[in-house]
């Protein structure tokens, strides 16, 4: 057994223990903390699997933003949780354990007995890289070869935000989401919220820009931008905008809107829906991505702040 394998086993064991802890621990708050740790450390596995694009996404969206989303919910539910002591019966537990281990065993054996010549689309993707003149194969797949998926995923984000907003109470409709945080000028949090976002915004744009040729892209960059925005909100330096603002709604549809327009343009002038002319492919993709990173940052940030809770004046 080589030292690399030992390391991989250690890594898998560490993340697995975190996963077990997340499921088994009594308090919900602790479980969310465990989930954040789990989500961040799973990124290490993705790096080991040589999928850095996914590692970035997993660390930023699943571990970082997703974890904080769960954490906020857990903090709010904390008092309600005390009454929730109803545990499932032993029969349920045993049969659930049985079902879960069967599922896990089936999946594990499926992985162990995969066919010897693995199917792969990597050569095809590499062979068509000329069509976009971007060097990152994952960006090529996301933005060109399977652009339809990416566009529809933007629509899913939009639907999610509509769904979240529509849960607002009647008197808060069109108002500001989340609680108002008061800025205390002597608080070190305010200091950090002034110092970190400029650096974070540069880092987010860097991750986005490098996505053309190296791992990175609009999702990962957008998640970093969203976290920096939320940091200033949490420090009380800015407030969340009322959701009825026209500019906000424009930002939210800019990404999928431009994507759709370019796609229809491909149908009109070119061969098919979302077909880019090779000469214009790179500027078109970059344009869509610039609109997308704004949309993604705004949508992720607003999804984290939740439904509107205060009317505009408050």
């Amino acid at each position: 057994m080589s030292i690399a394998t030992v390391f991989e086993i250690v890594l898998a064991a560490v993340v697995l223990i975190l996963g077990i802890w997340t499921i088994a621990v009594r308090e919900t708050y602790s479980a969310t903390v465990g989930f954040i740790a789990y989500g961040l450390l799973v990124a290490l596995i993705w790096v080991r699997l040589d999928a850095v694009d996914v590692a970035l996404t997993e660390a930023a969206i699943s571990g970082g933003l997703g974890g904080v989303l769960l954490l906020g919910a857990a903090a709010r539910l904390q008092d309600a949780e005390l009454t929730a002591t109803e545990a499932p019966s032993k029969v349920t537990r045993v049969s659930a354990a049985l079902l879960s281990s069967l599922t896990a065993a089936a999946l594990a054996s499926a992985v162990l007995f995969l066919p010897d010549s693995p199917p792969t689309l990597a050569p095809t993707v590499a062979g068509h890289a000329w069509a976009t003149s971007l060097a990152n194969p994952v960006t090529n797949v996301l933005m060109a070869f399977r652009a339809m998926d990416t566009m529809l995923e933007k629509v899913v984000l939009l639907l999610a935000i509509i769904g979240v907003w529509s849960l607002a109470p009647d008197d808060a409709w069109g108002g500001r989401p989340g609680l108002r945080h008061q800025a205390d000028p002597n608080d070190i949090l305010v200091f950090l919220a002034r110092l970190l976002p400029p650096v974070g915004i540069v880092a987010g744009i860097y991750i986005f820009w490098t996505g053309a040729n190296h791992p990175g892209g609009a999702f990962q960059g957008g998640a970093i931008l969203a976290s920096m925005w939320l940091l200033t909100v949490m420090a009380g330096l800015t407030d969340t905008p009322p959701v009825s603002r026209r500019w906000l709604r424009f930002v939210l549809i800019a990404g999928p809107g431009l994507f759709l327009i370019v796609g229809l343009g491909g149908l009109w002038f070119g061969a098919a829906f979302l077909a880019y002319p090779p000469a214009l492919a790179k500027p078109l993709i970059l344009g869509i991505e610039v609109a997308m990173i704004l949309t993604i940052a705004a949508t992720l940030g607003l999804l984290l702040t939740g439904a509107p809770e205060r009317s505009e004046g408050q």
């Binding site: 070190i188 949090l189 110092l195 970190l196």
Partner: protein, 97 residues
């Protein structure tokens, strides 16, 4: 030349690992929140700095090197401010009890 660099890398990374060990021992052994916080932020940030130093010697070009230093500086800034925030919250929690 590359052998000298490798030896220096090994030395720096080993020293860094030692500081991570020290930080973890502190976490396991110290009794209350404030001392554990002390063990965590100081030892781990120094450990990260030594690891970065070791990897700087292996960095291919200036850009990669600057990125490594930038990440360490970010971690330092975060460690300094976040540990202060946590410490203050811990004290408020004690006062509330």
């Amino acid at each position: 030349m590359s052998l000298v660099r490798d030896i220096m890398t090994i030395a720096a990374v080993s020293a860094g690992a030692l500081f991570f060990l020290a930080g973890t021992v502190g976490l396991l052994r110290f009794p209350d929140t404030l001392t554990r916080l002390h063990a965590l932020t100081k030892a781990d940030n120094l450990g990260l700095g030594l690891v970065v130093l070791g990897l700087l010697l292996q960095a291919g070009n200036l850009r990669d090197g600057l990125k490594l230093i930038g990440i360490w500086l970010l971690a330092l800034l975060a460690g300094a401010t976040v540990s202060q925030l946590i410490a203050r919250t811990a004290r408020q929690g004690e006062a509330a009890k």
